[in-house]
Point group: C2
Chain length 322, copies 2
């Protein structure tokens, strides 16, 4: 048996293909990579099992959204194992079996491991450049590191969180792209701040879109000094009479004392990009009441009169008043 820890840390996604046509796949980790691979391999006709160590897939999206995604994964035929840690794999030169922490083992022709991202800051470490609290390279608002004239951007570097103002590690494409562009402008003579991150993310899970922004987790909110209050609503993307109407869930979190929106998540067959409204509210420092009063676009082909984000804000505002 070989374990996940035998694998190269910096290259967390590895693939072991059988000779012949694979018929089953074991996916370890129910994040973006795991869910996208579950969809892709199911589309190729493989029997897919997904093992997630935590109680939910997509943990950073909150339990309400994760529950919807999990039901959908099962509906699509994915054999979902939550609270299930994988100990390692067995096989000779290829994978035959997945061994679970409890001692069980399942057969699989392919294994895909996508268990998160750690910043590769070895280069910085060797150069005695400071790492921040997240383990990624510490930067200031211009992307400057602790070494003069050395900047860092992308998956190796920290950013600042728009809600907490604290260093954050968000290894996603827009974060990297934006920081690279800002640093490019700064070093060529036009000082440009990198901009804060909200940790906004979106993922396709078969027929669903799921998205998140800001602080979704109540414990995380409390750690940051907030008194979080949250709601999850089930709504529709259009008026009931309009064709193409789909169910959508919106979860919002706010601070009881200030009413500030802290974060949220969205899941549905359509309209997960509505998370951008919540993300923009975070950048604008809106309270729940201000978000509830935002003048969003309505016409029956596009939205109910109250966009689901507004309805979530309305319900949350009511909860904050109590």
């Amino acid at each position: 048996m070989f374990t996940i820890h035998d694998m190269d840390e910096a290259d967390a996604i590895e693939r072991y293909v059988t000779e012949g046509t694979p018929e089953s796949a074991a996916i370890v980790g129910g994040g973006y990579v795991g869910i996208e691979m579950a969809e892709a391999l199911s589309a190729r006709g493989l029997d897919v099992s997904l093992y997630e160590m935590l109680p939910n897939v997509l943990q950073p999206f909150g339990e309400a959204v994760a529950d919807v995604v999990e039901d959908h994964l099962r509906d699509q035929g994915v054999d979902l194992h939550l609270d299930t840690a994988v100990a390692g794999f067995a096989g000779e030169g290829r994978v035959d079996e997945v061994h679970l922490d409890g001692g069980d083992s399942h057969s699989a022709d392919i294994a895909i491991v996508g268990v998160g991202v750690k910043p590769n800051a070895a280069l910085a470490e060797n150069a005695a450049i400071e790492r921040g609290p997240t383990g990624a390279i510490a930067t200031d608002e211009y992307g400057r590191t602790s070494a003069a004239n050395v900047y860092a951007a992308g998956d190796c570097a920290e950013d600042f969180h728009v809600v907490t103002g604290e260093p954050e590690h968000v290894p996603l494409a827009l974060t990297a792209n934006r920081a690279g562009r800002a640093i490019g402008q700064t070093v060529t003579g036009s000082p440009t701040v990198v901009g804060e991150t909200a940790g906004t993310a979106i993922v396709k899970a078969f027929d669903l879109g799921a998205a998140r922004t800001g602080i979704v987790d109540e414990e995380r909110a409390r750690d940051a000094g907030f008194d979080p209050v949250s709601v999850t609503i089930t709504d529709a993307t259009r008026p009931h009479y309009y064709p193409g109407n789909e169910e959508i869930q919106v979860m919002l979190v706010a601070d009881r004392e200030t009413g500030a929106v802290l974060g949220g998540s969205v899941v549905g067959r359509d309209g997960a990009k509505r998370i951008d409204t919540v993300a923009t509210a975070l950048h604008g420092g809106l309270t729940v009441t201000e978000l509830q009063n935002a003048d969003l676009a309505y016409a029956p082909p596009f939205s109910p009169v109250w966009d689901p984000v507004l309805t979530a804000a309305k319900v949350l505002a009511g909860k904050l008043e109590r």
Copy 2:
């Protein structure tokens, strides 16, 4: 001949149906009603002509978006007459002909007139309740009129514009719905502000969605004391390699001095609800640079790395620097 002005002002949409099966329709007015009716009647197989007095349909959406919609209307077989005022209709007990201001006439079996909305404030007028600068009933932030204990909401009443702070008349569903709800709370003992309007609107035009928010018109911006700078970009709703990728146009307007976002519009086969990001930016008082730095959601099924709204903000920020 009878003229549009013979019709009841308060009931601006009238329909004159022929005996037998109508084969052609004349639509007067290229706003929401006109465009939605053009689509509906085309779907029923009628030859549709649309007459618009102004140089563009959807004038409040700005010329760039209107141009895209006009091309699409023509592609869909609508006989579009811009800069064309209708003088009246001829026929005995029904419409036979549309007479244009210049003297031309076109035959039509149906005529639909949707030439805008005027507040019906007669009741208020008779009660000596004040009307505001827009002609609608003047209200304060709680929807109170000039008469004690009399509130006004909906298409007859004014709201306040989120960008200018000035009274505005926005006869749309969300505005009315929200004001009614807030006033209901206020009169039952929980004083609740109505909230400001951005004049956000969205309309389906055959296969396109078009949307607008805030101040789109540069002349209007100048009248409100701003020095407007605007851009229109053509972008894609997804990365080029991803299925379902569609063209999208985003127009943004900002104030040169403060960099504040003033408004914008969007048009495309998909993604017109992206206007909500711009609307939320208006409610948050974001500058173009702050909007450019908003952390919006990216994954290939949903967006390019830089959402088209971010790209528009980036281009506009570049223009503001010059």
